[in-house]
């Protein structure tokens, strides 16, 4: 049996706010298979983004174990987490997604620049991804010259540049209209499935769940399957 893309066991995240403690994630246990797409659904403040941030190495868990693609990251420090994010995960955020002074192709290539710097193979990969995403003719456009849907597609391309074990989508369609949102979700599904890459799609929109293999609900930091 292959190694799961994500194994979270008994993960807790507690924020200290003065004398009070806020439990953002409470004993969360979640496994995501190698090419599984999981929808993480919950209301605002339920802990969706916290879970995703811990899985992606942006935040550290207070307790519990997190293993991504066989790499245990629970005890990693800032430097190790930075390297982990470079190499093992891809991100598509809700609001801030592209570097405004880089064109579409450079927004993909920046991943290579920050990491191992493969050079030509990375450039070829960026061109291939842009082509697959239907953006070959937009490669030299700056983000300000792209539509909302095109920006999200570039962000998807960037998230796949480092050939990640797991891609984390945080409300990827929230800034798009329904039709464009569906197109983007279809694209996410086809890209993930064609690569055998796992994904977690954070959303509060139940319509998104149709494009995912499984839905996990979260309320007040507690996970529960559909």
């Amino acid at each position: 049996m292959s190694t799961p893309a994500l194994q979270m066991s008994d993960v807790r995240k507690i924020y200290s706010m003065g004398d009070n403690e806020v439990v953002a994630l409470d004993h969360a246990t979640l496994t995501v298979g190698t090419d599984e797409i999981v929808a993480l659904v919950g209301p605002s403040g339920s802990g969706k983004t916290t879970l995703c941030s811990i899985a992606g190495g942006i935040l550290s868990a207070t307790e519990g174990s997190v293993v991504v693609g066989g790499e245990a990251i629970s005890d990693y420090g800032d430097k190790e987490l930075t390297t982990f994010r470079q190499n093992k995960v891809g991100f598509v955020f809700q609001s801030v997604n592209l570097v405004p002074f880089l064109n579409a192709r450079e927004n993909l290539l920046v991943v290579d620049e920050l990491g191992r710097r493969q050079g030509k193979p990375a450039r070829d990969r960026a061109d291939r991804l842009l082509d697959e995403l239907g953006l070959a003719d937009r490669a030299k456009n700056l983000p300000s010259q792209l539509s909302g849907g095109q920006k999200q597609r570039v962000a998807i391309g960037r998230s796949l540049m480092n050939e990640p074990e797991l891609v984390l989508f945080d409300e990827p369609t929230s800034s798009l209209d329904t039709e464009l949102g569906q197109q983007v979700m279809e694209l996410i599904r086809s890209e993930m499935k064609s690569r055998g890459t796992a994904a977690i799609v954070v959303t509060h929109d139940d319509r998104i769940t149709e494009y995912c293999d499984r839905t996990v609900r979260i309320t007040d930091g507690v996970l529960g399957d559909d």
């Binding site: 995703c52 941030s53 801030v96 405004p100 920046v110 991943v111 920050l114």
Partner: protein, 373 residues
């Protein structure tokens, strides 16, 4: 450097304006440095670049050659000073003259009794006076009717002085200056004012004996009388009334530049950092080490300081060869090097404030939208 160069290439106007602004500041600093040095040289170059290591004024003269009068008693007293090697008279007068171009103008004439005590230290052209009616002029005045071989006529007497040598940076009071033998000076004074009698020397030029420093000789002479005011050559130049004030004024100006430059570069990079905080947060979230982003920012700062300095230097170089009125400007190599170091340190140092902001970026803000705030 990928990020740094890409950003600069996409924001040419923004970065270009900062570079030009820095270039203009560099130009102003270097130009004013030349102006300061040219101004001071034209005021006291004749003192700074003459041969006597020590000049003795009367206290009443308040360190102005023409205002000082050395009485025979004081002159006799100076000759008794311990550590004195040699001593000679210097006289100074301002005369109306007709220069070689036929123009009537004011000229300072400095008469020295001994060539090694008061003559220009070095000649750029020609020779020292050997006969009556010969002078060394300032090369700065050569194009203004005081060139080599030109004859100057003191008015209204018609006493003629021919320039047989030229020396660099030997003006006094920012005007045409002639160095003549002391007897010629006396003759010039008497020709201009036949009733003047024999003028007293204005200052004494002294040299220490072997093994005695100019500073020791100054102390010994000043210890002889409260009416004597001996100064080393450099002190005599620096303490001429007005010199300290000019230096102080320029120091204040340079201090202001020293404040403006870090403010301009520091604020620029701080504003840029705030403006692109979203992009920086995103980059941190996708795995950019903070160190890499700081390096990128400092690389931009280094490029801008270097380019700004190059622009400033390119503007300054041709102007530094010119003459402003009676002031000869000069390319100040030391100032160029020192200011390059100062600006580099100030420019990069002030960018560290922005770098600190970059180091504080928390990648979690990419998920909360905090980077956009």
């Amino acid at each position: 450097m990928f990020l740094a160069l890409k950003e600069m290439s996409r924001a040419k106007v923004r970065f270009g304006l900062l570079t030009v602004a820095l270039g203009m500041l560099v130009f102003l600093i270097l130009f004013q440095q030349s102006l300061q040095n040219g101004l001071l040289t034209s005021f006291v170059g004749a003192i700074r670049n003459q041969t006597a290591p020590v000049l003795v004024y009367s206290v009443d003269g308040q360190r102005v050659i023409q205002g000082s009068i050395i009485t025979p008693d004081l002159e006799q007293l100076v000759t008794t000073a311990d550590g004195l090697g040699d001593v000679g008279r210097i006289g100074q007068g301002t005369f109306s003259v007709t220069n070689a171009d036929g123009e009537l103008t004011d000229t300072t004439v400095l008469g020295y009794e001994q060539p090694l005590l008061g003559a220009p230290a070095e000649l750029a052209e020609g020779r020292y006076p050997r006969a009556a009616g010969e002078a060394v002029g300032a090369s700065n005045d050569a194009d203004a009717g005081f060139g080599l071989g030109d004859t100057i006529t003191i008015e209204p007497s018609g006493y003629e002085i021919t320039i047989v040598g030229l020396a660099d940076d030997v003006q006094l009071n920012a005007g045409a200056t002639l160095f003549v033998a002391y007897d010629d000076y006396v003759a010039a004074v008497q020709s201009a004012n036949p009733d003047a009698g024999t003028p007293l020397p204005n200052v004494l030029a002294a040299a220490p004996a072997d093994g005695v420093t100019p500073e020791q000789l100054v102390a010994n002479i000043n210890g002889l009388s409260d009416d004597l005011d001996a100064l080393t050559r450099s002190d005599a130049a620096d303490e001429t009334p007005g010199v300290a004030q000019v230096q102080q004024s320029f120091r204040v100006i340079f201090l202001l530049y020293g404040l403006v430059i870090p403010c301009v570069t520091g604020l620029f990079f701080l504003i840029i950092t705030f403006q692109k905080s979203g992009a920086l947060t995103l980059l941190r979230a996708i795995g950019a080490p903070a160190r890499r982003l700081v390096t990128s920012l400092l690389f931009q700062a280094v490029l801008i300081v270097i380019a700004g300095y190059a622009i400033g230097l390119a503007l300054y170089t041709p102007l530094s060869q010119r003459r402003l009125g009676g002031i000869q400007l000069r390319f100040e190599t030391t100032a160029v090097i020192v200011w390059a170091i100062i600006l580099f340190v100030l420019g990069i140092g002030s960018s560290l404030i922005a770098a600190r902001r970059v180091l504080r970026i928390d990648p979690i803000e990419a998920t909360t939208g905090g980077a956009n705030r």
